[in-house]
Symmetry: C2
Subunit: 305 residues, 2 copies
Amino acid sequence: MQLYVIFLGTGGSWPTVKRNVTSIAIKRGGEIILMDCGEGTQRQIQRSGLSYMQIKSIFISHFHGDHFLGLPGLIQTMQLNDREEPLRIYGPRGTREIVEELKNLGHFKPSYEIEGIDLDEGDEVRFDGYSVKPFRVKHNVPTLGFVLEEDQRPGRFNKSKALELGIPEGPLFGKLQRGESVRLKDGRIITPDMVLGPPRPGRKIVYSGDTRPCDKVIEYAKDADILIHDSTFLSDLEDLAREYAHSTARQAAEIASKANVDKLILTHISPRYVDDKEFEREAREIFDNSLVARDFMKIEVRLKK
Amino acid sequence: MQLYVIFLGTGGSWPTVKRNVTSIAIKRGGEIILMDCGEGTQRQIQRSGLSYMQIKSIFISHFHGDHFLGLPGLIQTMQLNDREEPLRIYGPRGTREIVEELKNLGHFKPSYEIEGIDLDEGDEVRFDGYSVKPFRVKHNVPTLGFVLEEDQRPGRFNKSKALELGIPEGPLFGKLQRGESVRLKDGRIITPDMVLGPPRPGRKIVYSGDTRPCDKVIEYAKDADILIHDSTFLSDLEDLAREYAHSTARQAAEIASKANVDKLILTHISPRYVDDKEFEREAREIFDNSLVARDFMKIEVRLKK
């Protein structure tokens, strides 16, 4: 199944001509999980060619305007386009209450179920084939980071072992690969563990939310395929980053390195920066596979062989 | 003083790639009056090259999402950019209450004064050199249209009359033109009415808000320089227009014709239309000086000679 990360908004605090405020779509097969939903996200979704009708659930890292003010418009547009499936919006404590406000602004009355759900570290939200786990990060209001991780895949199929056991090549191979036991003509029952290697981890995408450098990110992002990390400032403004509880590109790279991730994506770039080249340069001094997020950037997360 | 209408969002219901939801900036000198503020308006302002710091006041026609959900983001961005001047947001009954909600969403606390003010037909909001008057239109929730009209200008200066009266050419002419009396060397006092024609009306811009065809628009838009009118549908969907309390391009043109305006601008185009050429064709059969609004269209309203 194909897994993509699509950046819908990559700027911090307020939108600029170049960057909208934060939103990240994670698309797995035909399902989209949205992480954060700043003002204008519904239009960014349209520009990206995605469909907002594929949005399964929304996770909000925290309730600063640039991370959630796109919710009421998106909720209303889904209704105008006949959404009937319930929409669950997850976030830190306070989410339930804020979602109640947002879903009743002005003359709007929801005709489908919209539920806000408070999460905390230790929780796990299960989906078909993957889950999302929140963890606490260090911002100036209650803020969560999120791990989206696929379920383990069955281990690698050992073809020569299977032939050795006398299993005929054909449909029985497929059954065993999918984790089912099979009965041979001679009456023997072969269980999958006899021909499969150890289970292989699913793909793992981690989003830090807005945060100062934080050990929890290292812990939860361990060996992730992609870490999407707050990188509001460059190092020369590290004092400002500390004051506003954000990270610099260098700090994000240090976290990525310690967490041993495959790829680091720098996001939440402050509107003060017109040129973002320096972000990659700074991060790559510490962690080579660093990339600065740009609106509509689409990254495929491939299965490891 | 230069007067412009800048269309920041010209679509109805939800944004498309081509049109954002409704917002209209009226710029007079260095001051902007915003009419409606759909989601994403702050970014449209940036794209238009206007400054949101010039926004004096905001008028909201009604509280359907596509007309006001850009308010919280704009309010917050103004604060992040150090606005100290009070912001007044005017609209139909319920405005005060909704603005109280909008200005306290999430963790935001306003540091400058933000006031919601309920208006009704018969009110007049005075500014320096112009005023805004609301009038009731026919939508499916309480909705106002707005007239922005400049104060009367002094009448035309009659130079030959002035010379006839023995007034010497020079600074005394200017004083009389500005409406001041002058004393001549022979002791006579000349009052402005002796050399000025009748006062001339200021420029007049009228916005219908969302509405079915409505006599109040004809009354309030009488002889306006520009009428900006709901034109959600084409005539073949007149039934739908009636059902949702909107107007067709043809109906808008009929109103413009009856109101004897100079120019009609069709706006709030439904997202169902990809091509908008037919809107102008349909309206021009009734009212020749019709134009369909497009995002970032800028129209100068010139003083009549």
